[in-house]
């Protein structure tokens, strides 16, 4: 298997002079700064010759002091090797423009749209630069630039005009007045077709109609808009709009110190708060150059796997409710089982969902007395129950008919659409961050990566249940192997990493969760970019829904186990 230095020398020999800066961080991380003109060629070379078939995301960074924008493209491979290439292109701040990689990777679309709407970086050759997370009114304000003050008044950052009403209350007005628009201090809306107008353009004959699922709908796991263009009972095309609960966590974290940023990672998706903590802390630990003690690493693994168990239990249970399993309600059974698992986590972390548990260079608390015995007891119960559920789902003909062969994601499609986690693994691609990019003590543990070949909704749910069993196995091993010792590495009182960048990824319950953290030497991160797994699921949903029956939409979308909060960060 090639390592990072091999890839670097291959690029340098194929494109002499194109790489302006390079840094081999480890065998699995390669940082490059390349000439923007050669970006597409180098990426094509990496994709075709070196197996970089997974586009993992793009992060924009505003280097206001150098008058530059940087776009970091993250490229990895589905199992050909373990190298992650982080390729930087620089572009002047006055007229930012970089070539789009959308022609090479289908899933570059959303990442580039996000960089465009947040920073105003133009991507040449992108098929449709429309706003994704932001409302249409905010396009052109470029809110994540460092010199952005606020909305609507971009020079003073005044958020609203206060006026005392006759009733004695204070009224706040957000729309700029005509005078303000004329003066040019406030942001003016750019003219381009809205989401609704774009989808209505696709309407062909009178027989077709658009059906809205969401933003508030019983079957969506949070507010997002899924519009289905129906031809009879078939979905002709699906449109997806996100950003209804965009929280701007990445921007908030730029204004918080490193430890304070930790609590925001919990709230991106509370089903996976431990792995979000882990990803953020891992990235900052890389910047600080510390490694947590072994006991802390074991505790982190135990908690991460318990978190995976509870997430899968809730995700599957919720999904079965959506399918309308009225005669038996596994949701409630799974919630009962999950309570015990969550109580175990609460005994360690002190909180039930928003744990804020992982710390830079260690963990917050040690395992309490009697934790191992209690955990073994609960895991035994979980294992018995999960086996029962697997048996139950396998023996139910109604459920089987509803799920079998529905929403099939072929291996080629799954890789092309850029999904990760269970939906990718169930399409015959054993791509698991615990194997591909092993962190903590995962290399010492014995576990299987659950895969399926069919790639339909049935396989996704079934494999999720089996992952629970696998996680039980991992936790039990950890409990046997965990050594005594300290749980926290000594750190200075003030966390101030050296200037630099780090990318760290973990296996979330849903897939690849990566944190890209840029430090400028101060006590606050300069830029945090979150590469979440559900973002990729959502992007892959419209092509997956094309041509299916409208009744199967829930079975397909639900089997992905999504979380809108994480998409909208």
């Amino acid at each position: 298997m090639p390592n990072a230095s091999d890839i670097l020398s291959a690029i340098q020999s194929a494109f002499p002079g194109a790489v302006t800066e390079s840094r081999v961080e480890s065998d699995r991380r390669l940082w490059l700064t390349v000439d923007a003109k050669k970006l597409v060629d180098i990426t094509k070379f990496l994709r075709d010759k070196h197996g970089f078939d997974h586009y993992s995301g793009a992060a924009g960074v505003d280097r206001i002091n150098d008058n530059l924008f940087e776009v970091t493209e993250i490229l990895t491979s589905h199992g050909a090797h373990q190298v992650v290439v982080l390729m930087k292109v620089k572009t002047p701040r006055d007229n930012p423009s970089v070539p789009s990689l959308n022609g090479l990777y289908w899933n570059a679309n959303w990442y580039e749209r996000e960089a465009w709407e947040m920073f105003g970086i133009n991507f040449e050759g992108h098929p449709g630069l429309y706003s994704l997370l932001l409302p249409d009114e905010l396009v052109g304000a470029w809110p994540w630039r460092k010199d952005w003050k606020g909305y609507p008044d971009t020079t003073t950052g005044k958020r609203a005009v206060e006026k005392l009403a006759t009733s004695g209350h204070t009224e706040y007005r957000f729309e700029p007045t005509i005078e303000e628009l004329k003066a040019g201090t406030v942001h003016q809306r750019q003219k381009f077709p809205t989401f609704r107008e774009r989808e209505e353009m696709e309407l062909g004959s009178d027989a077709e109609m658009i059906m809205h699922m969401g933003p508030q709908h019983a079957v969506v796991p949070g507010p997002f808009l899924l519009d289905l263009l129906l031809d009879g009972e078939r979905v002709k095309k699906a449109f997806l709009d996100v950003g209804y609960i965009h929280k701007g966590i990445e921007k908030i974290m730029e204004n918080r110190t490193y430890p304070q940023g930790l609590v925001y990672t919990d709230r991106m998706c509370y089903m996976a708060s431990i792995s979000n903590n882990e990803a953020y802390c891992g990235a900052v630990e890389k910047l600080l150059g510390v490694t947590p003690p072994e006991r802390a690493q074991y505790i982190r693994v135990i908690l991460a796997e318990l978190s995976r168990i509870q997430s899968h239990l809730l995700g599957t249970g919720e999904f079965l409710t959506l399918l309308g399993s009225a005669t038996y309600s596994p949701f409630m059974y799974m919630i009962i089982d999950r309570e015990d698992v969550v109580s175990l986590m609460e005994a360690v972390t002190g909180a039930r969902i928003t744990h804020s548990f992982v710390r830079f260079g260690g963990v917050r608390n040690d395992l309490p007395d009697g934790f191992a015995d209690q955990t073994r007891k609960v895991l035994k119960m979980v294992r018995e129950k999960t086996t029962e559920y697997i048996d139950l789902l396998a023996s139910d003909p109604i459920y089987q008919q509803r799920m079998e062969g529905v929403g099939v994601l072929t291996p080629g499609d799954a890789r092309r659409l850029g999904v990760s986690g269970p939906p990718l693994r169930e399409s015959d691609t054993p791509y698991d961050m615990r194997r591909e990019d092993p962190i903590l003590v995962y290399p010492d543990l014995d576990f299987n990566v659950i895969t399926r070949t069919k790639g339909d909704s049935l396989a996704r749910v079934e494999a999720r249940m089996e992952e629970i069993l696998e996680s039980c196995h991992i936790v039990e091993q950890c409990l046997d192997q965990i050594p005594e010792g300290p749980i926290q590495e000594k750190l200075p009182k003030k966390v101030k990493p050296e200037p630099g960048e780090a990318y760290y990824r973990v296996e979330d319950p849903r897939g690849e969760m990566g944190f890209f953290v840029v430090s400028d030497g101060s006590d606050k991160p300069y830029r945090v970019k979150v590469r979440g797994p559900v973002y990729a699921y959502f992007q892959a949903l419209p092509p997956l829904l094309e041509g299916v029956y409208v009744a199967d939409v829930v079975a397909i979308a639900g089997s992905m186990d999504s979380c809108t909060s994480e998409v909208d960060r």
Binding site: V263, Y328, Y333, S343, E346, A347, R359, P368, P397
Partner: protein, 192 residues
Amino acid sequence: MVLKNYKITLKAATRDVEVTRMYPEFMMELPANERGIHELDATTCIGCGSCARICPNGCIEMVPYKYGNPLKNKKMVFPQIDFGRCMFCGLCVDDCPVSCLKMGKKVTIAGWNREDIILGPEKIAVNKFSDKEVADLAAEAARIAAEKKAAAAAAAKAKAEKAKAEKANAAKAEGGDEPKKNNKAKAKGDEA
């Protein structure tokens, strides 16, 4: 078979498992690590305000309070926590240099007004001094402060004398025996 579903349903219906509790009457068992309402040890708090600085929501304010240790807490300020904004992340507890702030098992914070859930040090203090102890400690602090003041005054006096002596030496501006005299002046200053 579909019948299997009913079998499991029946099994679950007759299973003895506690799912719903009659909440206000029966609380669930909370672990020792629970991150509930804060508990302040006012006898050890040094009023440094590091909890207020680390709080991501800015819900901690340092307010004056009587029953602390004036020897350590010079300004006699203690954390007051606005539980309307607190998210129970526990960063304040981790950052406390003397570990005087803890999080306990109490989790009920309802109130009729917003002000009711802003709990000052008198509400969250679990360990505090009595009036007499505070008076004693205050007297002790005053004594130490007075001593320090006296020492500072003496030091200032000595410094002034030393400066005077140096000035005198400089005025003489003689080469050989000057360092000796200087030393003497220094020794004098130390004695004082």
